[in-house]
């Protein structure tokens, strides 16, 4: 059965768990899924098996603790340790997919904002000069910032699983580390980056067209991965 089908079934079946069991199971579910370098198919299969087991156990009045032991993190680590890794070609494609989605979104937003500014409010220029060298370096730096930020989010989420953490404090920290900080870095980068390389002058709405190309590429990598 396909991983996406399993995920959907899991969403439905999980509703049958009682409060206490659901809390433990969902933490485990999140934790296992955070290891995205593991085969998704195998991860979802074992998660479904564990859910079926827990539902059977619940039917006999047993708790999640009795099934998974007193230390669910340790238990989940054992499971993850036995899961096969995602195969390398698939990893590369997933990485490329992420990169092109990111480029598609940023180019699209840029194109839309500049087009609205120019055609709607008469601000800015209809055509902008772009420097190929600058663009390439900005793109690479942005991708690195995004990957580091994502990595940090995943690391944090893994750490915070199975812990009761103050939600307010958490969202403040999250907002700073994964919102304000990368945003500040982007801004600094755009300001200090010198112009270099070949220059091209294109109408701002072309950016929307370019973003569609990126989007198509991203979709292609998603479908074939």
């Amino acid at each position: 059965m396909d991983a996406s089908v399993l995920i959907e079934q899991n969403n439905q079946k999980r509703k049958l768990l009682n409060e206490e069991n659901k809390k433990v199971y969902e933490e485990m579910l999140l934790y296992v899924r955070l290891f995205f370098n593991k085969s998704e198919q195998e991860s979802e299969e074992i998660l479904m098996e564990l859910l079926d087991h827990l539902l059977d156990a619940q039917g006999e009045g047993k708790s999640a603790k009795e099934v998974f032991g007193d230390d669910p993190r340790q238990y989940a680590n054992e499971i993850i340790g036995e899961l096969p890794k995602m195969i390398t070609p698939k990893r590369v494609k997933v990485g490329l997919m992420a990169i092109f989605y990111f480029l598609a979104v940023t180019t699209f937003l840029n194109g839309v904002v500049h087009s609205i500014l120019y055609f709607g409010f008469g601000k800015g220029d209809q055509e902008k000069i772009y420097y190929i060298g600058t663009l390439a370096l900005e793109a690479i730096t942005s991708i690195i910032i995004v990957f580091v930020a994502m990595y940090a989010i995943f690391a944090y989420l893994k750490w915070s699983c199975f812990k009761d953490i103050n939600k307010v404090l958490e969202s403040v920290l999250f907002g700073f580390c994964f919102g304000a900080l990368p945003f500040g870095l982007f801004l600094t980068m755009f300001i200090i980056m010198p112009d270099f390389g070949m220059s091209v002058q294109i109408p701002v709405y072309w950016l929307i067209g370019i973003s569609i190309v990126f989007y198509v590429l991203a979709t292609y990598f998603k479908k074939t991965s």
Binding site: E42, L50, H53, V67, F68, G69, I79, E82, L83, P84
Partner: protein, 109 residues
């Protein structure tokens, strides 16, 4: 006994027991856990799943989704040919170990 050694020892034996149960009939996780418990092998129910994953990776067992008589689809496990060989090996090793250890322990009392 050192915890690591003890758990290694237990894991090996548990693997053998799981292979033995699966060799008799194809079975899904929950049934397997119940069978182990009814045999008096006292392990937490969940501990079979990391072992089932490992046995699948080593291609000693295979899982197949099947409709269970009551309710949802289940992953039923059966032994592969390699699994059968591994079970025979386990039996030999176990028998070779069991008698000397029993005797040794008897002598201690």
């Amino acid at each position: 006994m050192n915890l690591a050694i003890r758990s290694q020892l237990l894991k090996g034996i548990l693997e053998g027991c799981i292979l033995a149960i699966i060799s008799k009939e194809s079975i899904y996780g929950y049934e397997l856990a119940m069978k182990l418990q009814s045999q008096g092998i006292d392990v937490s129910e969940g501990s079979i799943y990391p072992i089932l994953l490992r046995l699948q990776k080593e291609e000693l067992i295979k899982g197949k989704m099947k409709k269970s008589p009551h309710g949802p689809n289940r992953k039923y496990y059966h032994l592969t040919d390699q699994g059968k060989t591994a079970l025979t090996e386990f039996k030999t090793q176990w028998n070779g170990l069991k008698t000397p250890v029993d005797q040794l322990l008897k002598g201690e009392e």
